[in-house]
Symmetry: C2
Subunit: 189 residues, 2 copies
């Protein structure tokens, strides 16, 4: 299975592709970071990110796209740009006819290192070991994109209940509120 | 000037186009709501929204696109989907070669009704009056999209300082944190 992992961001958007066999061994296909200039408009930055992701989709033809799940209560000032970049990544995957999945950072860390609060160096080290790389993948966004792709291949697209079990209590409350909103929407139609 | 206003959302994305003359009088060109099914994946929903916005761009050829500015501290469970839909709207405008602008809901209300905390009915009523419509534009998302387009034409693309002056204190703190992040990003390059 060829998986594209995307660690979304406006300034640096990590993209990593791995081939994962049935025995869970994996090889690196591509890794990189799409950057956009901080002095451009958000719209221009999203177009630059989109162009970079399209090149990767066309050159490497992944079968599935995994994108990091962004939560609003990650109360960083960059969270809206990250959400917008994630939306663009999901859009491009859908327009390419590919299935998509989202995984939280703690799901990814747990899948790669066995520990949901692992630090960046631990993730980079395990990604390098799994993919038999001679150097740590850098920057961290690139390593995170590869970790996301590996996580997706190993976990599969999580059933909603299983995915929710891996959430922190705050994330679970959020996911449940989202679900209630979706259900209300369904009733309103 | 022909302006497309977009009130972003996954379930209902309002799109409204107005022609505004130099004397500030305006006429309705198009108004509608792009809907996506709540039981589809976020990626599929974004692709449906994108397809609807592309049709409007191609049919009506606006000269500028104004999108409602989404803040993370609007702590509703739908905020991430709204941010992703806004990102898609900005992307499509940039890919069509059009300039973009974002305006906050209170900027829009102030521009249309003279009152930044106006309710939905006041906005709908003023939009109908300005555009000489026989009925109130419905649903509210459609009226909001028209209000956004009128606001943009009347205010012009706000200089950053002027735009910040229209923010609430919480929004201003947020915008300043975003700016600091951008500046740090610029130094890090």
């Amino acid at each position: 299975m060829r998986v594209l992992g995307i660690d979304p961001g406006l300034t640096r958007c990590g993209v990593g592709i791995v081939d994962v066999r049935r025995d869970r061994t994996a090889t690196l296909v591509h890794v990189g970071v799409v950057r956009s200039p901080v002095d451009a408009s958000v719209a221009e930055r999203l177009a630059i990110i989109a162009a970079g992701i399209r090149v990767v989709l066309e050159e490497h033809r992944p079968e599935v796209v995994a994108v990091e799940r962004v939560f609003a209560q990650q109360n960083r000032s960059t969270v809206m740009g990250t959400a917008q970049a994630a939306g663009v990544a999901l859009l491009l995957a859908a327009e390419a006819g590919l299935p998509t999945a989202t995984h939280t950072p703690s799901e990814v860390k747990a899948a790669i290192t066995g520990y949901g609060s692992a630090d960046k160096l631990q993730v980079q080290t395990m990604v390098a070991r799994v993919l038999r790389l001679e150097e740590l993948p850098r920057p961290a966004d690139a390593a995170d994109a590869l970790a996301l792709a590996l996580c997706h291949a190993w976990r599969g697209a999580p059933a909603e209940a299983a995915a929710d079990a891996a959430l922190t209590p705050a994330q679970r409350a959020w996911a449940e509120a989202e679900k209630r909103t979706r259900n209300r929407g369904a009733l309103a139609r």
